[in-house]
Symmetry: C2
Subunit: 151 residues, 2 copies
DNA sequence: TATTGTTATACTCTATAACTATA
DNA sequence: TATAGTTATAGAGTATAACAATA
């Protein structure tokens, strides 16, 4: 056992707990974790397919299917670039944005019972420590919008 | 914006980061996140199918497939209960245990770069806060073994 | 030639419904 | 009747390989 093993285990355990919450809430709107992140990502960006795939750590062919299914539901749409005619960019629709905001609210509410276990003084402390671990420097793009960039 | 929104966002962002690490390491051994958790769970238990499904928050039919594929790889095995002949219990094989331990080590190593960003004094503090949030009371069963039980 | 994106294919993960065997 | 587990089916998510269009 190395000295930080307990910390690593706590991080993994907490993360699985968080994913269970997100999975449950997403399922309530027929959204997988990946679709949840896709919507979060698009709230403040209009990336091309290749950029999206890189953000999410997925193959471009996987992105085609993901965007296809989201587009079929009217949550996102595809646009053709003006300059490079090979490029397709993706943006969120008003319906998609509405859903993304509703889901973000639900997630925050669902997490409250967990964070309520902390003493009020501990909450900003935990925020600071988590930001140190997972990095605010990469940029925070909403509750489901963080990228996978490595440290 | 409620006061704890920043904390909730940090929890979600960090969790996605952790899942990306686990997904990458699992993929290196042809293990999905779910198979990773299954192996972790079985390190110190020999549950029946229904218990496993409850632990993982999955349908029993999903468990059948999951265990089937893990069994085909020689990582787990099924046993028939002595008392109730309907019951099937699942246990990890020596090969499965070896793999689970190797993966756990890899995960801890992969997380070190993240936790190394913290001042040494902050590390036990973060452990304590995460334990408060996600609960040690439910029991910790290894790095991929925590259950989905709600607060 | 290289890049962007889609399509074809195959496999895992997942749930629902129907089924078998046991209680 | 009720419970434990499997199977059949269907759909989403994923990657690899082959492809078309554009650069």
């Amino acid at each position: 056992m190395r000295p930080d093993d307990a910390l690593h285990d706590a991080l993994v355990r907490t993360s699985f707990r968080m994913m269970a919450v997100l999975t449950r809430i997403g399922a309530g709107h027929d959204l997988s974790l990946t679709q949840l992140r896709l919507l979060g990502l698009l709230r403040d960006r209009r990336p091309r397919m290749t950029e999206l795939a890189a953000f999410l750590g997925l193959d471009k062919s996987t992105m085609s299917g993901l965007v296809e299914r989201a587009e079929r539901r009217g949550l996102v749409a595809r646009g053709k670039s003006s300059e490079d005619r090979r490029v397709v960019d993706v943006f969120i629709t008003p319906e998609g944005r509405e859903l993304a905001e509703r889901v973000q609210e639900e997630i925050r509410s669902a997490l409250a019972p967990y964070t309520d276990r902390l003493a009020p003084d501990d909450r900003p402390a935990l925020t600071r420590l988590l930001d140190a671990v997972s990095g605010t420097t990469t940029g925070n793009h909403g509750i489901t919008g963080s990228s996978d960039a490595s440290p």
